[in-house]
C-alpha cells in the first residue's frame, strides 16, 4: 500500500468518526462559558479602564482649572491697568544720590473703573536682606511666595539705585485694585530712574522663585519656596483600608513533567480575595508621603479535580427470614457492589499572607485641595504566609496541603513584591480624608520550590480607606 493510500485510509477512518463524549461535559461547558475568564480578565474590561481613565482625567482637569482660577494672573485686566508715575509731583524727594529719607507716591490708575490706588513706598537704607509688604486691606504680612487672592497687578518692581532693601507699604482703599505684594530688587547700575514698572513682570508674580507661567502651581509646586517663618509640612496620618483583590498565578515546572503542571493548572482557578491593613503616612514636604504599615491579604482559589476510574465498593446486606417449624431463622446475605466511575473533588484553597508595605507617594496639587491624586510605589515585604486547602501530587492524587502539616508548601516567607498604585483622595475635613487606590502587586518570588513546582502570584485590587491626621498643622 502506498503512502497516499495509507493516508487516505486513515483519513477516511477517522475524519468523521465519533467518539463517546463523557457525560456531564455539557454542564461543564455551560459553567465555563458563564464563568468570568480566570486570567487577565482585566484586559477585557475596557469599560472599567475607560471609566477609571475618565475619572482620573476629569480630576486632573479639575485641579488644573481650580489652580488656574486661583493663581493665574488675569492678563487682560492687568494690561488695562496703566501705571503712571509722576516723578515731579509724586516723587519729589527722589534723587540719584539716594537721600536717606525718600518717600515716593506711586499712583496706579485702572482704566476700566477709573479707580485709583495709592501706594506709598518708603525706601530706606537699611541693610536687611529681605523686604516686607504690608497691606492695609488684608491687614496681614505676606511673604514673597505666590499670592492667590488678588486680581491684578501682580508685581511692582521698585528699583533703587543705592538702596538694596526697601520696605513697601500698600495703602489701598479700593477692593480688587491693588497688588498685595511687590517684588523688590535693587540694581546699582540705574542712575536716572528710581522707580519703574517692569511691564513684563505684570504677567508673573514672584519672579524671585517662580517661572512666568503658573506651571509650578498646576503641578502643585507653587508653594515650594521656603516660607518666611521656615515652615515645613510635618503631617502624620494613620490610614486604614480594605481591598477586594484578584490574583493571577503562574506555575513553573520544577523538575516535574509538564502534564502534571497542566493538570494542576486546569484543576485550580483563582477567585476574588481581599486585603486589609493599616499604615502610617508621614509628609515630607507638601507633596511627598512616606508610608509603612502592616496588612493581611488572602488569595482565594477554587480547586476542582475530576478523577477517572474511581472505584466505590458498597456493601449491601439483605436480610431474609426462613420460616421453619423449629422457628424462623433470619439470614443476612452480604454482598458487595463495586462501581467504577469518576469523582470530582472540590475545595476552596486559601493562601494567607501578613505583609509590611513600605511605599513612597507623591500627591499632586494643592495640599489643601478637596481632591488630590497621588502616585505611590514601593515594596511589600512578606513576614508570614500559610496555605490551607488541597492540591494534586505528582501521582495526580488529591492531597491536603495545609502548610502546618506539610512543610515546604507555601509556609516560608515569600520575599519581596513590588507595589504601585494611583490614589484618589477626597478631603472631608481638616482631620479626615477618604481615598480609593487602585494598585498592582508584582511578586518577585517563586513559592513551593520543594514541592516539584513553583508558583508566582501577581495581584491587583482597589484599596478603599480612610486617612486620619494624628499630628501636624491644621488645614485652614
Amino acid at each position: 500500500m502506498t503512502d497516499k493510500l495509507f493516508d487516505n485510509y486513515v483519513r477516511d477512518k477517522l475524519e468523521h468518526y465519533s467518539s463517546p463524549v463523557p457525560s456531564g461535559l455539557w454542564d461543564k461547558i455551560l459553567d465555563e462559558k458563564n464563568r468570568k475568564p480566570k486570567a487577565f480578565w482585566w484586559q477585557k474590561n475596557v469599560g472599567w479602564y475607560a471609566g477609571v481613565g475618565i475619572i482620573a482625567f476629569l480630576t486632573g482637569a479639575y485641579f488644573i482649572v481650580i489652580n488656574q482660577k486661583e493663581n493665574a494672573i488675569e492678563y487682560n485686566s492687568t494690561l488695562k491697568n496703566s501705571v503712571s508715575i509722576n516723578k515731579t509731583s509724586s516723587l519729589p524727594l527722589a534723587s540719584p544720590e539716594g537721600k536717606k529719607d525718600n518717600t515716593a507716591k506711586v499712583i496706579i490708575n485702572e482704566d476700566s473703573t477709573q479707580q485709583a490706588a495709592n501706594a506709598t513706598a518708603t525706601i530706606s537704607d537699611a541693610a536687611t536682606p529681605t523686604g516686607t509688604v504690608l497691606s492695609n486691606k488684608t491687614n496681614r504680612v505676606s511673604d514673597f511666595g505666590f499670592s492667590k487672592n488678588k486680581k491684578f497687578i501682580s508685581a511692582l518692581e521698585i528699583r533703587a539705585n543705592n538702596n538694596p532693601v526697601a520696605e513697601v507699604i500698600s495703602d489701598n482703599q479700593e477692593e480688587n485694585a491693588v497688588a498685595d505684594y511687590f517684588t523688590l530688587t535693587a540694581r546699582k547700575n540705574l542712575n536716572s530712574e528710581f522707580f519703574s514698572l517692569n511691564k513684563s513682570n505684570l504677567y508673573s508674580s514672584g519672579t524671585l522663585h517662580q517661572p512666568p507661567l503658573n506651571l509650578r502651581n498646576i503641578l502643585g509646586l507653587g508653594n515650594d519656596c521656603p516660607n518666611a517663618n521656615g515652615y515645613q509640612n510635618r503631617d502624620v496620618y494613620v490610614e486604614a483600608y480594605l481591598s477586594p483583590d484578584y490574583s493571577s498565578k503562574t506555575i513553573y515546572p520544577n523538575g516535574t513533567n509538564s502534564t502534571y503542571i497542566q493538570k494542576k493548572d486546569s484543576a485550580e482557578s483563582m477567585r476574588v480575595g481581599f486585603s486589609a491593613g493599616v499604615r502610617l503616612s508621614k509628609s515630607i514636604g507638601d507633596h511627598v508621603m512616606l508610608k509603612a504599615g502592616v496588612q493581611y491579604s488572602q488569595i482565594n482559589e477554587k480547586f476542582a479535580q475530576r478523577s477517572i476510574n474511581q472505584t466505590q465498593t458498597t456493601t449491601v446486606i439483605v436480610s431474609r427470614t426462613i420460616v421453619r417449624p423449629q422457628g424462623d431463622t433470619t439470614i443476612n446475605d452480604t454482598t458487595s457492589v463495586t462501581q467504577i466511575g469518576y469523582k470530582i473533588t472540590k475545595s476552596n484553597n486559601h493562601y494567607r499572607n501578613i505583609d509590611i508595605p513600605v511605599s513612597l507617594g507623591y500627591e499632586f496639587g494643592d495640599p489643601q485641595a478637596k481632591w488630590k491624586i497621588g502616585l505611590n510605589g514601593g515594596v511589600i515585604l512578606n513576614i508570614a504566609s500559610s496555605f490551607q486547602g488541597v492540591t494534586i501530587d505528582t501521582g495526580y492524587n488529591v492531597i491536603s496541603a495545609n502548610s502546618k502539616g506539610s512543610s515546604g508548601f507555601y509556609n516560608t516567607k515569600l520575599g519581596v513584591s513590588l507595589f504601585g498604585s494611583l490614589s484618589l483622595i477626597r478631603n472631608i475635613n481638616s482631620k479626615l480624608d477618604v481615598f480609593a487606590e487602585p494598585y498592582f502587586r508584582y511578586g518577585l518570588y517563586n513559592t513551593n520550590s520543594t514541592a516539584g513546582f513553583s508558583e508566582k502570584f501577581n495581584t491587583m485590587g482597589v484599596q478603599f480607606g480612610v486617612r486620619m491626621k494624628i499630628s501636624g498643622r491644621q488645614h485652614l
Binding site: 495509507f6 485510509y9 468523521h16 465519533s18 467518539s19 455539557w26 465555563e32 462559558k33 502534564t259
Partner: protein
C-alpha cells in the same frame, strides 16, 4: 443541538492530539467554549463544521504548545518497513487506530494529524508549529513509518 451533533466528532479530533482522555476532554470543553463565544464571527464562508473544527484543532495545538512541544528525532534502526497488505487493515477498528496514533511521539502525532487528516500543507504546519517545513516533512515520514510498523505488529499478533 450543536453540541450533540458535533461533540462526538470533535472528541475524536481531541483524542488524536491529546495524550490521554482527560486532556482530550479539557480540549473539547475549551474548544466548545470558544466556539460559543465566537460564533458571531462566523462569516458563512465555507463549511461551518470546518470552521468549528479549526477552532478545536487550534485549541488542541495551543494546549500542547503550553507543554513546550519538542520535535525529537527517534532512532530508527529498522530496515524499511515491509509493505502492509490491504487486508491487514480489515480488522483494525477506529479506536485501535486512535490508540496507535496516540502512541506516536508528540511531534510525530501532531504533524501526522495536521497533514494527513486535517489536510494542511507542510508550509502551513511549519507556520502553525513554528518549525521548518523540512522538519514537518521528516516528522510525517517517520510518523507514517512508525504507525505502519505498529499496524504490522498487530497483524503479526493477530496471525
Amino acid at each position: 443541538m450543536l453540541f450533540e451533533q458535533y461533540a462526538g466528532k470533535f472528541m475524536t479530533v481531541c483524542k488524536r492530539y491529546a495524550n490521554d482522555d482527560m486532556e482530550a476532554e479539557d480540549m473539547l470543553q475549551e474548544g466548545f467554549v470558544r466556539i460559543f463565544n465566537n460564533i458571531h464571527q462566523f462569516k458563512f464562508e465555507g463549511s461551518f463544521e470546518g470552521w468549528m473544527r479549526r477552532i478545536v484543532v487550534n485549541v488542541a495545538l495551543k494546549s500542547l504548545q503550553k507543554k513546550k512541544l519538542k520535535f525529537s528525532e527517534i532512532k530508527d534502526n529498522s530496515v524499511d518497513t515491509p509493505s502492509i497488505q490491504a487486508y491487514a487493515y480489515n480488522h483494525l477498528g477506529e479506536e485501535e487506530l486512535l490508540k496507535l496514533i496516540n502512541n506516536l511521539p508528540d511531534g510525530y502525532r501532531i504533524v501526522f494529524n495536521l497533514a494527513v487528516i486535517e489536510g494542511y500543507s507542510h508550509e502551513e504546519i511549519a507556520k502553525m508549529l513554528n518549525v521548518q517545513p523540512s522538519t514537518s516533512r521528516s516528522q510525517l515520514v517517520k510518523a507514517r513509518k512508525m504507525l505502519q510498523s505498529q499496524i504490522l505488529e498487530i497483524q503479526k499478533i493477530a496471525v
